[in-house]
Amino acid sequence: MIENTTKEFEIAITSSIDSIFNDDIESQILSPLSCLREYGTHWLLEFDLPLVNKEDIKITFDEDSISVEAKLKETYSEEKLGKKTKFEYFKKSIILPDKIDNNTSAKFENGRLKIIIPKKISNHKIKIE
């Protein structure tokens, strides 16, 4: 395992000083950024998973939630508030506003996981008077 201590540019982008607060330091788990967008026929759920290889990603789902776990290809370290913390995994669960269709598909490119969830179309008709 290669260890990387992240040292930001000398002029740091400083606002992320509390970025570790959403992460699980004890279990060495990072919480990835994600976004859910609605399109006409599907939902697009994306996770930002840098430092991850496709084969190290596990996606599971139940009725209305999707969970993503991924092992980092290198240990990610941050030194914040005088404490050095190391992370080995990404993990996050998202509850969706719709039930998950079996035709859900996923694609991983440039460290971004895209999950396409087709919308369930009901056949209930509304009569126009």
């Binding site: 930001e8 540019f9 740091a12 606002s15 992320s16 000083i17 919480s31 950024l33 994306e46």
Partner: protein, 240 residues
């Protein structure tokens, strides 16, 4: 004997703040570091959240001014809500007048339909005709149609009414995830415009870790930008 007067290069101001994909933030902070720029001041505002950053024991104000030769930089580590964006733009204008800035370049990011994340493009928008030539000579496609909001819009609105021409460079990016890859095209374009040498190897090496490191700033930026989206607009519903 001919005596020629030395023409000093015009003063240029670069502006970067957190917005889509954090492109402006990555680009400007990388340039500051790469060019070895020195901090010469800071911009304060009574409505800014009372925030200071500490880096290697040094206290940093969130909005800082840097300079090297004829290049000035204003960089913010805080995203601006709609109320602060206009005041920020006015502060920049005041600063430009005081320091005889002749041109402003803002770096930001935008999402495009069918954009290739592996080869992001850059688009430019100018407030004055005099900068059109820079777009053309640097093969920067013109931003033709779309909407702009937030601090970008505030600065453009203020400067298009002033005599200081402003250019906005928009690199294609993912709007909700930190996108240092997109900032590389912004860095190389800026280097061409300013006729300076900037090596992007360092940022290329750190890209994946930068994406992890700046998750929180990205979230904070989205929250701030969404504040504006949730504001009631004055346009009648029918026109939305």
């Amino acid at each position: 004997m001919k005596v020629s007067k030395k023409i000093s290069p015009e003063n240029v101001l670069l502006v970067g703040f957190p917005s889509n994909g954090l492109v402006g933030t990555f680009t400007i902070s990388y340039l500051i570091n790469n060019l070895g720029m020195k901090q010469i001041g800071e911009i304060d505002h009574p409505d800014l959240p009372p925030t200071l950053f500490v880096e290697e024991g040094e206290i940093l104000h969130p909005i800082r001014i840097y300079k090297q030769n004829n290049i000035f930089v204003i960089m913010s580590d805080l995203p601006f809500d709609p109320y602060l964006a206009h005041d920020f733009a006015e502060s920049i204008l005041k600063y430009c007048k005081k320091n005889t800035i002749q041109k402003i370049i803002i770096v930001s990011g935008m999402e495009t339909i069918n954009g290739d994340p592996k080869a992001p493009k850059i688009y430019g928008l100018v407030t004055h005709q005099s900068l059109e030539e820079i777009l053309y000579s640097n093969q920067i496609s013109k931003f033709l149609t779309g909407s702009i909001f937030g601090a970008d819009a505030a600065i453009i609105s203020v400067f298009r009414k002033s005599k200081i021409p402003t250019m906005i460079l928009y690199a294609e990016c993912h709007p909700f995830f930190p996108n240092p890859e997109a900032s590389i095209i912004a860095i190389t374009t800026l280097a061409k415009i300013l006729n300076i040498k900037v090596d992007t190897i360092d940022i290329q090496k750190k890209m994946e870790r930068l994406r992890i490191q700046h998750r929180n700033l990205m979230e904070e930026t989205i929250r701030t930008l969404q504040q504006q989206e949730n504001q009631p607009t004055r346009a009648p519903q029918i026109y939305r």
